[in-house]
């Protein structure tokens, strides 16, 4: 806290005090706390930018702040969230005007006063509706894609179903769950599809059906988002901006922990993996090209000097031949570490042109080579799925047994380890109290160029419980904590 507030003081000096600037200051501090790298000049730019746009225009305001403060698209989601917490409650973007309603099917509601700003209390004529009527209105609104009506209904559903109580210490997800359970949107989708089948003149083709389905899914997704932000708004009103921002703070995609990522976070991670591999491959290739200079090549220099009459005018250097290591990956794919292994395999194969060969092995308590699944395929995601389903990795009971897996590895593939081979072991070294067989690693380290261990667990958990990483690590050239994409990227760069 102290460092960020220090960073902010110059802003106060430069510009006059005003409520908006205070708010912006708080906003920027929160962005920094959320992990976004906002520099001082950027925050000054933001202040200047907002002075050029009309303050009533929420969207322009948001884009002005975004363009000056967020310089990385993967941070945009975090920015949006903080923005919503800080500015939406004061904002007019949720105001439902008469104009919105006149064209919509909510004409019957137009005459009732719908007051903005006192959301939990106000419900207008809608509070008189029965649950069935509400469902029916929701259905029609979704069918016609009536935005204003959907916004209204989202608010009404939150008031009605979320059961929000002031000061109750539960998160927004709990309220969201309660609201969605009552709305039963899954059967809503079925109803919508049935309705559009009925409305169609001819029978819908598969393609049309699919498009209709996507359209409705999109609308329902929008509705969910509306409900979510509605809940957030009420929570902000209840708890205050700072507290809310703190509870909503989420790690940036590159900092998301592999082992505790939610499904949504996983999807995000997968999406950011592809650009990452491209970036990494480009960087590594470039480094190879412009890499360090070797020692003076005496023979070449003298030879070249002949053309200058024996004066060594142009010294020549030996360029080290780029070493292309052969990689052997041995990955634990049991339970919680599976996601981590998947990401690492993904990354290694995406940049496999940087290595002379990549061979991969997966194990739980048995071990199997899976190079054949992963090599030369275009869609690595599918290949990894194949690995998970087809590889023969269970020996007795499907609980990790590092000792036995290493035994199998040594017996079958140990002879393939050569002086150019780098061996990577991925796993948490939780051996379920089986024999460690660590002598194998010792032997392997002797034969291999390097032997590294990557562990997705935080360093503090190593060697607790049944984790015996300490024992294995004595025979490794390095044991690294790799819990997120940032750490993984850093390690891979070191590898080449």
């Amino acid at each position: 806290m102290s460092s960020t507030s220090e960073l902010n003081t110059p802003i106060d000096v430069e510009v006059e005090e005003s409520p908006l600037l205070d708010l912006l200051n708080g906003f920027i501090v929160e962005l920094r706390l959320a992990g976004l790298p906002v520099s001082l000049t950027e925050s000054l730019d933001a202040m200047e930018a907002v002075s050029h746009i009309p303050i009533e225009d929420r969207d322009a305001f948001k884009y002005a702040l975004g363009a000056t403060l967020v310089k990385n698209y993967s941070h945009w989601k975090s920015f949006e969230l903080v923005f919503e917490v800080y500015f939406s409650i004061r904002g007019s973007e949720y105001e439902i005007t008469e104009d919105d309603l006149t064209n919509s099917m909510a004409d019957e509601l137009a005459e009732t006063e719908y007051q903005q700003g006192d959301a939990p209390a106000g419900g207008g004529a809608m509070s008189g509706l029965s649950p069935e009527e509400l469902q029916e209105m929701l259905f029609r609104a979704l069918l016609n894609g009536d935005q204003a009506m959907l916004r209204l209904l989202a608010r009404q559903s939150v008031i009605r179903y979320a059961g929000m109580e002031p000061g109750r210490p539960v998160g927004g997800t709990y309220y969201l769950y309660r609201t969605l359970r009552n709305l039963d949107l899954d059967s809503m989708l079925d109803r919508l599809m049935a309705e559009s089948r009925e409305q169609a003149l001819n029978e819908l083709t598969q393609l049309e059906e699919r498009l209709e389905m996507d359209e409705y899914k999109n609308r329902i997704e929008d509705l969910k988002k509306q409900i979510e932000s509605e809940i957030r708004r009420s929570l902000v009103a209840d708890r205050g901006v700072e507290a809310m921002a703190r509870t909503l703070r989420k790690p940036l995609p590159e900092d998301v922990d592999f082992m505790h990522a939610s499904r949504e976070e996983m999807a995000n991670l997968r999406r950011s993996l592809y650009p990452l591999t491209r970036k990494l491959a480009a960087r590594l290739a470039r480094r190879r090209k412009y890499g360090r200079r070797g020692p003076l090549d005496f023979r070449k220099t003298i030879r070249h000097s002949l053309s200058y009459g024996g004066v060594p005018a142009e010294p020549k250097f030996k360029y080290p031949r780029p070493s292309k290591p052969e990689i052997m990956v041995i990955a634990d794919i049991s339970g919680s570490v599976a996601a981590f292994a998947r990401f690492t395999l993904h990354l290694l194969y995406a940049i496999s042109s940087q290595f002379s060969k990549v061979r991969s092995f997966v194990f739980i308590d048995g071990l199997d080579e899976v190079t054949r699944f992963l090599e030369g395929v275009e869609d690595i995601g599918e290949a990894v799925h194949k690995v998970n389903t087809e590889a023969d990795v269970v020996w007795v009971d499907g609980h990790s047994d590092y000792g036995h897996a290493f035994g199998v590895f040594w017996e079958k593939y140990g002879k393939d380890i050569g002086p150019k081979t780098t061996v990577l072991i991925l796993g948490d070294a939780r051996n379920n109290y089986h024999a460690s067989q660590s002598w194998i690693l010792k032997e392997a380290q002797h034969k291999a160029r390097k032997l590294y261990w990557l562990n997705p667990e935080p360093r503090a958990y190593w060697d607790t419980g049944d984790s015996i990483l300490g024992e294995y690590a004595t025979y490794c050239d390095g044991a690294y904590e790799v819990r997120n994409l940032r750490q993984l990227e850093a390690f891979i760069e070191k590898l080449v």
Partner: protein, 307 residues
């Protein structure tokens, strides 16, 4: 800070002015795009545009130039770009001639002063942009292709709109041009560069905007067909593909369908023409599977059942 530069007045009145101006040259901007172009003018800052390929990053710069009747100066970046290609170069042949011409008659120091004067300076795009007398828009295309060291060349001109030439001193700009930098994100740009720019991410357009783009760019397009195209493209973008169809590919597809005289897209048409939209074999297979396989199998089952 930049008081030496004569800024006559702002180019754009307000955000809506930008948007309608852009749509006059048939570039459909959303709130974010028009707002940031407007701010770029007001704050006299360059705009760094990132986003997937083929979403109209370069086109935005061109359209802004067209709408404001400005000359577009374009610097295409590539690996190995250096200051003699980007900033300025001494016209050394002319310098040689000069020395030969006046070899005997004049004092050396005089000649030397003369040699490094503006007469012998060749302007390259960046210098030309700030010294131009007429309004210009500067486009620095694919800035992620230059090495990170070369990026530093851009910093002075982007923040101060001036160029320092060792032999000549600092060349002040005559104007603050609108500057657009585009990047495909093949590498992270340096913090220093990002800090100096406004950041704009142009993503794939949403359904409504894509439909409008198709209608605006392809005259004679049937509204219903445009709607269907936009919806199919959106569905394809939701699949997990290597490369999602870009806006330019959508337009190509729409043109193809128009030429083929298609009134309504069904699974067969989609399957036959999807290679306009997708460029990877595995992607095409995936999309075809999504849209075409199922009805066939269902029909077959039904026929068999009926028989």
């Amino acid at each position: 800070m930049k008081d030496t530069i004569i800024q006559v007045d702002y180019r754009f009145e307000d955000v809506n002015g930008v948007r309608s101006g852009l749509s006059d040259v048939s570039y459909l901007a959303d709130d974010g795009i028009s707002g940031i172009v407007y701010l770029a003018d007001r704050l006299a800052k360059p705009v760094l545009i990132e986003g997937p390929a083929g979403t109209g990053k370069t086109q935005l710069a061109k359209s802004v130039a067209e709408m404001s009747d400005a000359r577009l100066i374009r610097l295409q970046c590539y690996e190995g770009l250096d200051e003699s290609k980007a900033l300025y170069e001494w016209n050394y042949k002319k310098q040689l001639l000069r020395i030969q011409a006046e070899n005997e008659t004049r004092d050396w120091s005089e000649i030397e002063d003369d040699l490094f004067s503006e007469d012998f300076l060749l302007s390259r795009p960046l210098l030309e942009a700030i010294r131009a007398e007429d309004p210009v828009v500067l486009l620095i295309d694919e800035v992620d292709r230059v090495e990170i060291e070369t990026e530093a060349l851009l910093l002075e001109i982007l923040s101060e709109y001036q160029v320092s030439i060792p032999e000549l001193g600092t060349v002040e700009g005559t104007q603050v041009p609108l500057v657009f930098l585009t990047s495909n994100g093949t590498r992270e740009l340096s913090e220093a560069l990002k800090r100096r720019c406004l950041y704009l991410y142009i993503d794939y357009p949403d359904l409504k905007r894509e439909r409008e783009i198709i209608n605006a760019k392809i005259p004679g397009m049937d509204e219903n067909l445009a709607d269907q195209i936009a919806r199919i493209v959106r569905s394809i973008r939701q699949l997990d593909l290597k490369k999602h169809p870009s806006v330019s590919e959508t337009l190509d597809w729409a043109k193809t369908l128009l030429l083929l005289g298609v009134q309504k897209i069904d699974a067969d048409v989609a399957t036959d023409t999807v290679n306009v939209l997708l460029k990877y074999r595995s992607d095409i297979e995936k999309a075809v599977k999504e849209f075409a396989d199922n009805p066939d199998s269902i029909e077959e089952v039904e026929e068999e059942g009926a028989a």
